[in-house]
């Protein structure tokens, strides 16, 4: 039996020539300095990607890419298919892991100057992989086809829709029509399971091939300058003098880390469970704030914080500029110092980018800038603001609910946070200023002028004018005599 297997193996190997290739790869020398714990993130990303392919194929056997069935098939997986929920959890969290690992890998190769001569194309292939992975994350979120998917798509379409002249066509292309519908889902399914994975596998191949052929980046030493005419020879010499075979020395660390990552993925998926689906993607159902997956949260915060007039410009030029810069990087600074110690500017850029994206993400997780859609009917006026109010002020409190001001403004800490909390508005604004704010709006608040009767404005103002903490006087208009706080 074993003899038979062995002879089959020999036959195959003689034809495929695999054994020698693998042995070559395993034995290829790498600089001793790069068998380091800093060099493990790329391979970990690859391992998670392979896991995503496996879980993805399993999911595809159940998932139905039809607008009226997609959501139900996920519910089926979550509740009826044994361990279907775990499969979904692995795939969903795997995606988060992969994005996170890839960004760490990106930062590491950037800081270690690995993109410099002669590895420009390795970096470019990596950038394509970055875009493809984000594309997978985005299309995957859409396949969930729940309300958050709507949100993600809505933002995507609104960015694309702002492109001058061709904007409408682009939206049509993405959504398969002017609106989000069944066509949209089929398109994203095709992208998610055929187009982008094919690109990914192709570019992963190229990326790895280049890493093997050009050799892994050596540990950067301050003062060791990359020059086009001498670098390759210097690298060869380094590998000869101070190199070791890839297996097992460098590969060990990769394996251990990959094992740890898989283990933590298994645990996280078991504890946190599958991501979504939340409510059905029915545009007539307006529930509480839909939220994108975490890697898009910072975009969500950014758009909420940007003044509206900058949005179009930034949405269109921002991504193009950032992606362009990323691709151009090795051609802009392809030689010179590799060590981060001699590249303070790059370190500052990394710190700035990480803090910016980190802060925005953090803000995005806890501060719901988009309105809380059901606050108006679900969040009671705090009892303190009801007690001791006149009938007109009470009607003002009712109108703050019925005109949905609560969706953007909080009272007693509850309600939307898009606008300022109204609890102490009267210490900041006089009655006239409150009237102006309500009627004319401004600063991201809609103008209510045409939609309110004079009686409604009077009631709202009467109520809001009582919004000053006990003991803190209301704002006074110096041109008018002071009025007692709760007079009409």
């Amino acid at each position: 039996m074993t003899d038979l297997l062995k002879s089959i193996g020999r036959w195959l190997d003689a034809r495929l020539q695999l054994g020698q290739t693998i042995a070559d790869v395993a034995a290829h020398p790498v600089p001793r300095s790069s068998a380091s714990w800093w060099y493990i993130f790329g391979s970990a990303t690859l391992v998670v990607f392979i896991l995503q392919v496996v879980t993805g194929i399993c999911l595809a056997t159940v998932y139905t890419p039809a607008a009226d069935r997609a959501w139900d098939s996920l519910i089926y997986l979550n509740y009826h298919q044994p361990l279907g929920w775990y499969l979904r959890a692995l795939h969903g969290w795997g995606s988060n892991f992969m994005v996170a690992l890839m960004f760490i890998h990106l930062l590491q190769v950037f800081l270690f100057g690995a993109y410099k001569f002669p590895r420009e194309l390795t970096w470019v292939a990596g950038c394509v992989l970055l875009l493809c992975t984000l594309g997978m994350a985005f299309t995957g979120q859409v396949l969930r086809f729940d309300q958050n998917a709507y949100w993600g798509l809505g933002i995507g379409a609104s960015i694309a829709g702002r492109t001058p002249i061709i904007g409408f066509k682009v939206v049509d292309l993405i959504l398969g029509g002017p609106i989000i519908a069944g066509e949209t889902l089929s398109r994203f399914f095709a992208l998610h399971v055929f187009v982008i994975p094919a690109l990914l596998i192709g570019f992963v191949g190229l990326h790895l091939y280049l890493v093997l052929r050009l050799g892994i980046n050596e540990w950067p030493m301050p003062g060791r300058i990359v020059r086009r005419n001498s670098y390759i020879a210097e690298y060869q010499e380094l590998v000869h003098k101070d190199g070791e075979p890839f297996m097992p020395h460098a590969a060990q660390k990769d394996l251990v880390f990959a094992g740890l990552i898989i283990l933590s993925l298994l645990v996280v998926a078991a504890i946190a469970g599958p991501i979504g689906p939340n409510g059905q993607p029915d545009p007539t159902i307006i529930q509480t704030v839909p939220r994108p997956d975490f890697f898009f949260l910072w975009l969500f915060s950014l758009f909420a914080l940007l003044p509206p007039w900058t949005e179009t410009v930034l949405m269109l030029t921002g991504p193009v500029a950032v992606i362009g810069l990323l691709f151009a990087l090795p051609f802009i600074s392809g030689t010179g110092e590799k060590s981060w110690r001699r590249r303070p500017f790059s370190v500052v850029i990394v710190i700035l980018a990480v803090t910016l994206v980190g802060t925005l993400t953090w803000l995005g997780t806890f501060s719901p800038w988009s309105p809380v859609m059901d606050a108006w009917s679900a969040t009671p006026t705090p009892i303190d603001y009801v007690k001791g109010r006149t009938p007109l002020e009470l009607q003002g409190a009712v109108l703050v609910q019925s005109k949905q001001c609560r969706n953007c403004h909080s009272l007693g800490g509850e309600g939307g946070m898009r606008g300022p909390a109204l609890d102490d508005t009267a210490t900041r604004l006089t009655r006239d200023q409150i009237v102006r704010q309500i009627i004319q709006g401004g600063g991201n608040m809609p103008a209510y002028g045409k939609n309110l009767t004079p009686a409604e404005v009077n009631a709202l103002v009467a109520f809001l004018a009582t919004m000053h903490p006990r003991g803190e006087p209301p704002a006074r208009d110096s041109a008018r005599p002071a009025l007692p706080a709760s007079s009409q």
Partner: protein
Amino acid sequence: MTSIKLNSRSLKSLLAIVSLAGTFLAGCDSLPGRPTQAELPLRPSNVTDFATLYGENCAGCHGADGKSGAAIAMNNPVYLAIIDDASMRRVIANGSPGTAMPPFAQSAGGPLTDRQIDLLMRGIRKSWTGAPGAAEGAPPYFSSTAGDSSRGAQVYATSCQSCHGPDGRGGSAGSIEDASYLSLISNQYLRTIVIAGRPDIGHPDWKHDVSGQPLTPEQVSDVVAWLASKRPPPPLAQSN
């Protein structure tokens, strides 16, 4: 750089641990991540739980637990005794036109199914019906006759002025003659308040405006008619 020396034995055992942990985790049925039936997202139109229905649709204005909201309390036993199901259903389904009470029936553009409105009404009555007899001798929810506003002025002076003050100036309680206020509420609401009161924010019911002198049905109609006569003509109540 520190490095951990590993031989193939330890690598194998690591792999074994990983796969063991994997099977164990995957095999276990009561993992915290497993979605529970309670997490199953419900279509809003399939929600049948009273607390959820009330909490998401009514609490904003009528208060948590049916009291102390900006609009009339739903847990007031007098109120629940005088209002009949048909009237309550009409208000919830169609809203109160010209006021902030929105229509909730899907047929009127609202979010709730007929069944959900039934559940809400049943839930309100079941959760909050108070002491029996609270509303004995109360004037009816509807007035059968139109009131007389000049007699209503008298009723106001004797029964309401002590708190709401003379000449629309307001007293210990604020003015109810305010033109804007009257433009925002319906006559029925005035009548409901006068009869059932607002115990949650200190408004007496019909028996206790002046102790020992409950208002008669005619007096209630009269004072509502008088207040209604003070309501300004439309311009103030129309969009500008």
